[in-house]
Subunit: 383 residues, 4 copies
């Protein structure tokens, strides 16, 4: 592809009434690296068409079936370069498979698949496909999360001892799924969500960010999953202990019934010589607590931030970059990756931070282990 043309993007899911699809589209536009030209936005033909028109997609590229779309786009000279899959979890696997087999790169929402078996199968497909697979663990796109990772890797807090990660929400405090609310309905349905409720929806984010920042792979968990809302089939609250290589210990709490929490993802990491604390609701700050010295408040774009954060920064310090920009960072990095690959060049270093199938697999293993631990009364279970 010409190095300067925009990438042609397709989308599966994200039609009227959806949430995360619109976020993906804004993120894709933010850095002007993509143009949305095709979509299987809904399996309902009317809705698919209406959604496509609203998005400037021409009628012949508005599909109702992702398999047809994969075939047709692969056959066009101006076919899509990459597809974004933004459906409920159970569609991730078949859709990703269809596009990868058609030779089309994939950007996929998390968690990667409905269950671990699918994820492992997908990993095999990707390994032989010569295609890229990007998973939108968007919180790792925040500059200060990357700053934290860089500081840990540089030894600025010493060997890790304690990790405390949590992700609390309250929107499922009541039986919202009974009202027919679409987002609640599929997230609380094992057939569409998989084995994890809050665990899959937000716990995987917490787990991913903890591993991303520390650079450690969790070895085992001792978990307690609970469904507080009567009749709910999946967990809406999960609390667990974590063990990491080298002796580090941790806790992970995710909840969708913690009244007053909107999207309270928070990570704290303590090492032998210092600590780091970050919270998603105020993402432009990172607190560094060197042992024996006053805490330092690092800010995005401010003094003492390193390369990783700077590369993910668009605007000066004090102008808060938010969630959309974090999301957009993945799209930007993905565009760099695809362009570089196409040109036979080495991708920029930032591309190495892109979550992909490995992170997807980790997520599924995490869900699987947590569910198993909880089922075994919290016995420690390897990941």
């Amino acid at each position: 592809m010409a190095s300067h043309r925009r990438l042609r993007l397709g989308m599966v899911g994200g039609g009227e009434g959806a949430f995360i699809g619109a976020v993906h589209r804004i993120a894709a536009r933010l850095d002007d690296e993509y143009e949305l030209v095709a979509g299987a936005l809904s399996s309902d033909p009317d809705r698919a068409t209406r959604s496509a028109v609203g998005l400037h997609i021409t009628p012949e590229r508005a599909y109702t079936d992702f398999r047809t779309m994969a075939q047709a786009e692969a056959a066009r000279p101006d076919g899509i370069d990459v597809v974004a899959i933004v459906t409920p979890n159970h569609i991730h696997y078949p859709a990703a498979r269809a596009f990868l087999e058609a030779g089309i790169d994939v950007i996929c929402d998390k968690p990667v698949t409905h269950d671990l078996a699918e994820a492992e199968d997908l990993a095999r497909i990707i390994a032989t496909s010569n295609r890229s697979f990007v998973l939108t663990h968007n919180y790792t796109g925040y500059p200060m999360v990357r700053q934290a990772r860089e500081m840990v890797a540089a030894g600025e807090i010493g060997g890790i001892r304690v990790v405390a990660v949590e992700y609390a929400q309250d929107w499922l405090s009541t039986d919202l799924e009974a009202t027919g609310q679409k987002q609640a309905a599929w997230r609380t349905d094992p057939a569409r969500s998989g084995a994890g409720g809050a665990l899959g929806d937000i716990g995987t984010h917490a787990f991913n960010i903890a591993e991303f920042v520390t650079g450690l792979s969790t070895t085992s968990v001792a978990a307690e999953l609970t469904s507080f809302v009567h009749g709910r089939a999946l967990d809406d609250n999960a609390q667990m202990l974590l063990r990491f290589p080298g002796g580090a210990r941790g806790t992970l709490w995710c909840s969708q019934v913690a009244a007053g929490n909107e999207n309270a993802l928070r990570l704290r990491v303590y090492g032998e010589t210092g600590g780091l604390s970050w919270q998603q609701e105020h993402p432009n700050q990172l607190i560094h607590t060197p042992l024996g010295a006053p805490p330092r408040l690092l800010s995005r774009g401010g003094p003492a931030t390193g390369d990783a954060a700077t590369l993910a920064t668009r605007i000066p310090a004090g102008h808060p970059e938010g969630y959309l920009e974090g999301f957009a960072q993945l799209y930007r990095d993905a565009a760099s990756l695809l362009r570089a690959r196409c040109a036979g060049e080495i991708p920029p270093a930032a591309c190495a931070l892109l979550p992909g199938i490995a992170e997807g697999l980790r997520g599924m293993k995490f869900i699987t282990a947590a569910v198993a631990s909880s089922a075994r009364d919290g016995a420690w279970t390897e990941i």
Copy 2:
């Protein structure tokens, strides 16, 4: 124009090395309402061409002179609908005038012009032009700023008594302009900035947001302007007292030499029965302090937010919308305005919140009065 095609956008200024031009472009893309198709990005031909190529602008629409651009685009059947002027302040007036006289709508960065005389002349031109003029006082695009305005208007804090607004930065704490830094150079140069330094650059934002939220027009100021960095021709710190109609009183402080402040715009308003507090660096929260009851922490997308905030909200509570989204809100509203006008329809209510020439005039009058007051040893001076 067809109601669903994107608006064709041109840009004056914003070539390589510029800051705010890139912010405007991201903001324009965020809601997919514009496509950038023409530009006079730089008066240097090489730089103009290089900048245009990088932005997918075709060579024949990459101009080096805004007057030529205005004529040429007005003559094309596919000419731009609207131009964004993102140059240093002294270009605002001639460029805006050129496009308005060519029948093209204008989105212009603030402060509106170099001096009050230009602003008054521009107001006359606009009044007779049948064109729209939008001024990017972007902080009024934040949902919680609109929420605050709505609450004041609804009488939720009673009659206004006290206003405290401040905008503190530290990037001009040293003689940065002497290093040749482009942003510092023009902002500290009266020929390009006008009579206000920090006053024009950020004081106008503070002034605008105070009037936006309170709905009050400041009647007079008693000001003290200071240049702390040796040899600087314009103020880098301004402190003043404000008087409002109905007896309300206020303070305004803007500074670019307040060490440790990145972009600390903060507004507090106190009325007979309550108060409101908002700060730009954490823009998704608004603190409401009803007299005699516990403070309430309102959040964007959260419980108890009203229509104005909801209309400016893209994503759920807890996912911080940031500066870019605030900026993008103005572009979205402007697109709605232009489309409605074209279709002969009544614009949506949110368009009434768009800053335009009136706000621009207010800003110039504010600078003029503050400079005059300070020159008269802080005597109260009417605005």
Copy 3:
């Protein structure tokens, strides 16, 4: 005793070089309810005498042995009404026993004893002694902690679902005990501290405040105790899951190796209809998050605080009450209790909030269960 004379207070421990003894003395003075008249401040005679002189204690009432002191004071017509025991943990039991058997009331630092067997024995002694025993779980003396308890009891957040309590410090991040530092030495020595390190020193506070506020008795724990500093015999970090009656779930984390944490005791409680959040380092605020409404920031002395908080408040809102006042509250309540008992009156309601042997027993059972759970690889263990 005359209703208006000050209570005569003795002290065991708290001589030169001690920390908590001085805190107890300030707390006792704060409300002018006690006068310190006797002490066994140190087992070293010289230090005991020097310490006594500095505290205005007359020489004949400066003892070097708590048993002698108990006998002598019981025999004096102006003998002490009550003794404060502020020694390392292993002295708590014999000293408390000596004074109780001499007919003297006891105020004792926490944890109640060295081990569970001692605590149970002490409980038996108290039960037959007709004396009062007050345990200084001082954090329950904070007005806003009592406010939280009152709100939970009144059903303001509905049935409890999730509890998250943590108490993080960093002062044992290095091998401080090897330097001979007195506070570190005894706290890391099983012979003087008991089976819990961080667990006994601060974990018991976290455990106590969680039960105090929720009104729930933890039923079992699944724990992971770690000693991060090489060669340390006791835990310096403990993380555990908690189960409560009625299905509530919780996490407890205590650490003395979390760099950057000074005394970060923090409690969050979530119920069916709301949540509460409090942190000791800013103790005058309590955040109430009613489900579906904006968070309310309650402050000590401010609007909407109830009787329990008001009774523990000395000064108006906005003037921060601190740690010493929280501590003093227990002394004030203890004085009320002792005076009422002496006068044959019913003690004021606030006395019911005083921690005593029951809370001490709970603490020892907690340590015992946590140590056992961790030893059994985190198996759930009843408390």
Copy 4:
């Protein structure tokens, strides 16, 4: 006096229904340096007697008239060493004069007198009295305020450029004095308060702390005083600009009608190379913002605090010291001063920080200048 006996303290004012008297007494007890033995607690004999009994003052030393008390105590061999004057402002001068002339040291609440003439006269009396006069500008007793002063003096933020001090409350937002509330009644009455309302009650604190930390004497003000509550004779809101020697500039805002503010005293100071920020409602923290480096969060008792803060610290970091301790610090320093003077020794360095008549005079000059400036439409007025 014997170096180890407690100082004998008397009190004028502070009987039943008073606020600040109880605060003074707790502060005096906190460090066990004083015993309260005499008082003219009320001019009403019954109230005076009842108040004295409750405070363990013997009947013959419970006076109803401060002049009688001064004479009688001066004549006793065990007479008071020092008196605390805690009455409404208009009594400060005659009471202080009576005790100083009787040879008794004075600790006096602020503002120092009813008007500037009295303050100047008092200054003359003190100058010839050979007695100490301590003014309880209690906020200067906070460890982190002293830390800030020490850092400024050490040049850690360079030459001062900008000062922003504010003190906001809301308790006079309505016509509280009309309800007969005692605290409101005298504070809004020119006969008892003097020329300043909010200005005298809290503005003097803001003014004092700004001068204390910066070490600069304000040279002139341009002020705007307002009475927002109908019929109120004194200001309930004051906003002003400040000029300091060396070219520094500042703003001062004090208000008792700012809804939602309890006791929001806040100071920010910016110099050539850094800034400092402190707020009274969270007094144990001080933010230091070195130019070009991340902000540092200094905490009382924590790393990097200096001698001045350490000397005023009682308990370890993380255990919040509050308002009472700040107050008590002045009493502790005053005790050191009195003991040293009595022993013919040089007082400890910390005594140099004690506010006295000089600070009292400054306060009265400040009120006088602010009132004059406001009366002259905000003209700059020398202090």
